[in-house]
């Protein structure tokens, strides 16, 4: 399973963090700072995989953001690269030409998309279309309820 997923930019600013194991705040911060330091120090053409403590770290850079996740021993690193690619595609589809600013200002949406894609450290939906549809439905549901609340018709 994936233990954590972090998104940070080249200055080390964290843009998204998802933890699938229980850790104290102190431990989380420690991992975040170590990850940012390690990944940002890597040369640009370096391998996307590295070993850190007992975890396999897979990271990839998309424009100004680094997507970094920690995997357990049995997980397939190459598949995780595909996973990261899929997540970025989902974000791109949702926001339309996604960039870092979209994720900054709409971090809650980025989390919702992630929560539709990955659950408990494992992928829950492998179909792009299904996922996009679910997000639309959820947003529509939210709007309808809000609308209804604002203008009750009775």
């Amino acid at each position: 399973m994936m233990r954590f997923l972090l998104l940070f930019n080249r200055q080390g600013r964290l843009r998204l963090q998802k933890w699938f194991i229980p850790l104290s705040n102190r431990e989380k911060n420690k991992i975040v700072s170590e990850m940012t330091l390690t990944v940002l120090a890597r040369p640009p053409k370096a391998c996307s995989f590295l070993q850190w403590r007992d975890l396999k770290i897979v990271y990839r850079r998309y424009a100004s953001l680094f997507f970094c996740c920690g995997l357990e021993d049995q997980d397939n690193e190459l598949l995780t690269l595909e996973l990261l690619q899929r997540y970025v595609e989902l974000l791109d589809q949702y926001f339309g030409n996604v960039c870092e600013l979209d994720i900054i200002f709409n971090f809650d949406k980025a989390y919702f998309i992630l929560d539709e894609f990955i659950m408990g450290g494992e992928i829950q939906e492998t179909s792009r279309l299904c996922l996009a549809r679910h997000m639309e439905e959820a947003d529509a549901f939210q709007e309808t309820v809000d609308e209804y609340e604002k203008n009750p018709t009775y």
Partner: protein, 745 residues
């Protein structure tokens, strides 16, 4: 600032802060406002406030006062509030917080909500941060949802069940029946969740293994459908139909087939089909192939299939993608322990990969000590089967690892006195004892338990080798020479050595006789030269001895220590010896002579790769001293000078090193060299050591260029220098028509 400013506005303000202090001030004000808002009863902006707090939390500021608000929002009836409340719960609450228990009831209610979106929120949160107690409480609910008719809910419930099984393995039996039936689902999301659930159940409980082995045919069928199915836009990734599901199924098959012949048989065909038909041009295909290989190697597969798997890894080694090469290296390393014969044919490519500068890939280039230990281990266990070249290779490796001399000679001595059957080990040990006998006699060595070794002990050991009928003539030659060398390294028993040497002057073995007679002469007529002749050898440059077959300047005595002329160039012939992979790591120290063969098999030999590959490997093995060659100044202007030096020249290739130095008062930055050569010449530029030349000659920038050509007469080069000096950008050109020859050739 108005207390009810929206999330976006707050983010804008925070980002606008120019200093850390300003940012902190803004955030403190905002948090105070949010706290006040939380204390107010029921207001419309609750979800916005929590969202703001979550943003602040992500920047690293404390947000614990939002925990209760999360609990309140989750209990709200509005979907928008629930959504942000659950998000907050996942971010701020974890099983270590007491407040997390408070949401158990809300989750329970929401699991039976009429809207699937609300159910989904609850399921997601439970799977993300559910503690053991929460899981125990809610497990029956999850089990019920697994049987729901809605696949959206079913897939989420399956992953929730996975989380529960991880937290409380005993609850696994609750989910086993449902897991089984989920395999007949058509929906990929549900199937994927089901496979993960079954994997988790099997890993936790071996009884489940027996039960789920019966599902192997079903799983095989699902895989076959995926592999042979046509294009499906929904699930297709780079030509592979749902690689995520394929990989998970392969992983489950691995667990089911392990140590079980029946199950392994049932999946043989499928694995062969996947291994041959999957297109690995993109990462998705490679991921599936990788998982297939791991599965093949772990189950009881037939040997043909195993060979196929190793060949796939071998192909991966040649892949342009660094990640795939890394994967293949890690897998091969695991496999070589058990299946080394299959791995050997890929030795050559493995060596080339070791030249990769990337630290992750180079991780498999071992440390010197590990290297020496491993080869010694090989020699001790199967020294009779290693290649002849192992001996000089190992010797060369040992000479290069100067800080390990003491450790090595101690280890070898101990190996020697316990057993002298393995000839290669005996030879290496004798050579080392001869060279480093003084270190052995000192008795102390940091990395090894101390053992007192007397001069007599050492001489006894060497004489045993000399006299034993198990020793080959070569080994005896080594031993005799070692004994002779010790005459300058010990103090008390020189007479004993003298007598041994004179005895062998009439030995029936001509080789030994010749050596003994010469050594005798060294004692008698040339005693004044003995110390000089027998002194410690310099680090062996394999390349030069290969080329010139014994440099004429080296004493004839020393030449005896290398029984065979060493071939300096990488030899790619197939090997059939034990653990050749490890021996070959000795070969991986490439001579500075780069032949065309070698560069063409390197997987990534473009101009942009590995800066000074040779330098790095040389660092790894202690460094070879380059023979000094004359350097010629080819360019000089305004304090910047460029020198050229030719090394390693052969009829068809030259290695040229440019050295740039700066005698001005200020640093030169952005220094860059470009070179052009005539069509008949091939040029390969290695990366420069840097682009900043410190002022006043405090440092230099060097860059190596490899040239290969058919006709030396045609060799010309035009070099363009671009750099910034004292604020101005400059560009200069220089033509080089003649290249200096190195000192020796």
């Amino acid at each position: 600032m108005s207390p009810s400013v929206c999330l976006q506005e707050m983010i804008r303000v925070i980002r606008g802060a120019r200093t850390q202090g300003e940012e902190r001030g803004v955030i403190q004000r905002e948090c105070a406002a949010i706290r006040a808002q939380f204390r107010q009863a029921d207001n419309g902006g609750r979800s916005h406030n929590l969202a703001k707090l979550l943003y602040v939390h992500m920047l690293g500021y404390p947000a614990h006062f939002g925990q209760m608000e999360c609990v309140r929002l989750i209990a709200s009836s509005k979907y928008s509030e629930k959504r942000i409340g659950y998000l907050g719960a996942m971010m701020l609450l974890d099983e270590k917080q007491d407040a997390s228990l408070l949401i158990t009831n809300s989750i329970k209610n929401d699991l039976s909500h009429s809207s699937q979106h609300v159910q989904s929120l609850a399921l997601c949160t439970l799977a993300c941060m559910g503690s053991a107690e929460m899981c125990r409480d809610l497990a029956p609910e999850i089990e019920r949802l697994l049987k729901a008719s809605n696949s959206y809910i079913k897939k989420k419930a399956a992953l929730c069940a996975v989380h529960i099984v991880r937290k409380i393995p005993e609850l696994g039996e609750m989910f086993t029946p449902s897991a089984h039936s989920l395999l007949s689902e058509k929906n990929h999301g549900v199937l994927h969740g089901a496979v993960i659930l079954i994997t988790e159940l099997c890993e936790r409980n071996p009884d489940n293994l027996k039960q789920f082995r019966k599902s192997v045919p079903e799983l095989v069928q699902i895989m076959k459908n995926l592999v042979t199915s046509g294009y499906s836009p929904e699930h297709n990734v780079a030509g592979i139909s749902d690689p995520f599901l394929q990989v998970r199924i392969l992983r489950l098959l691995r667990i089911l087939g392990r140590n079980n012949d029946a199950a392994s048989d049932a999946m043989n065909d499928l694995l062969a089909q996947v291994a041959t038909n999957t297109d690995s041009s993109k990462t998705a295909g490679s991921a599936v192939l990788y998982e297939t290989v791991l599965t093949i190697m772990d189950i009881r597969s037939e040997s043909g299939l195993r060979v196929l798997a190793v060949n796939i890894l071998g192909r991966f080694l040649l892949n342009n993608d660094r990640n795939i090469r890394y994967i293949s290296m890690t897998s091969l390393q695991k496999i070589v322990q058990t299946d080394h014969t299959a791995v050997q044919r890929h030795r050559g490519t493995i060596v080339d990969c070791l030249k990769d500068q990337d630290a992750s890939v180079k991780r498999y280039a071992p440390s010197q000590r590990w290297h020496i230990d491993t080869i010694l281990h090989v020699l001790v266990t199967a020294g009779g089967d290693v290649r002849d070249e192992t001996v000089p290779n190992l010797i060369q490796l040992i000479t290069a690892a100067s800080e390990l001399h003491c450790y090595t000679v101690h280890k070898l001595y101990r190996a020697l006195i316990s057993d002298i059957v393995q000839q290669s080990l005996v030879q290496v040990a004798c050579w080392c004892i001869g060279e480093y006998g003084d270190l052995l006699l000192k008795g102390e060595c940091e990395e090894i338990t101390p053992m007192q070794v007397t001069e007599d002990d050492v001489l006894d050991a060497l004489e045993t080798v000399l006299q034993s009928h198990m020793s080959t003539p070569t080994s005896r030659g080594f031993a005799l020479t070692a004994i002779m060398k010790l005459s300058t390294r010990i103090t008390n028993n020189v007479d004993r050595i003298r007598s041994v040497v004179s005895i062998y002057g009439s030995c029936i073995d001509v080789e030994l006789q010749q050596r003994a007679v010469e050594y005798n002469a060294l004692f008698k007529k040339y005693d004044h030269m003995r110390a000089a002749v027998l002194e410690r050898m310099p680090v062996i440059d394999r390349n030069s001895s290969g080329q010139t077959n014994g440099d004429p300047s080296v004493e004839p005595m020393k030449e005896f220590n290398q029984p065979k002329p060493v071939q300096g160039v990488l030899i790619q012939e197939p090997a059939n010896q034990v653990c050749d992979l490890l021996d070959l790591l000795g070969d991986s120290n490439p001579p500075l002579l780069v032949t065309n063969d070698h560069t063409s098999t390197a997987p990534n030999s473009t101009n942009s790769t590995s800066s000074n590959v040779q330098d790095n490997l040389l660092d790894l093995l202690g460094g070879l001293e380059p023979t000094p060659a004359p350097s010629v100044t080819v360019f000089e202007k305004g304090g910047l000078s460029l020198k050229l030096q030719c090394d390693q020249q052969t009829e068809t290739s030259t290695t040229v090193t440019f050295t740039a130095s700066n005698s001005t008062q200020s640093d030169i930055t952005g220094f860059n060299l470009q070179a052009a050569v005539p069509k008949s010449v091939q040029l390969q530029m290695k990366a420069p050591s840097g682009d900043l030349i410190p002022a006043q000659g405090c440092g230099t920038v060097t860059q190596t260029v490899l040239l290969s050509y058919t006709n030396k007469a045609n060799l010309k080069m035009r070099v363009r220098l671009s750099y910034s000096s004292q604020g101005t950008a400059c560009q200069d050109m220089v033509q080089i028509d003649s290249f200096p020859s190195p000192a020796w050739s």
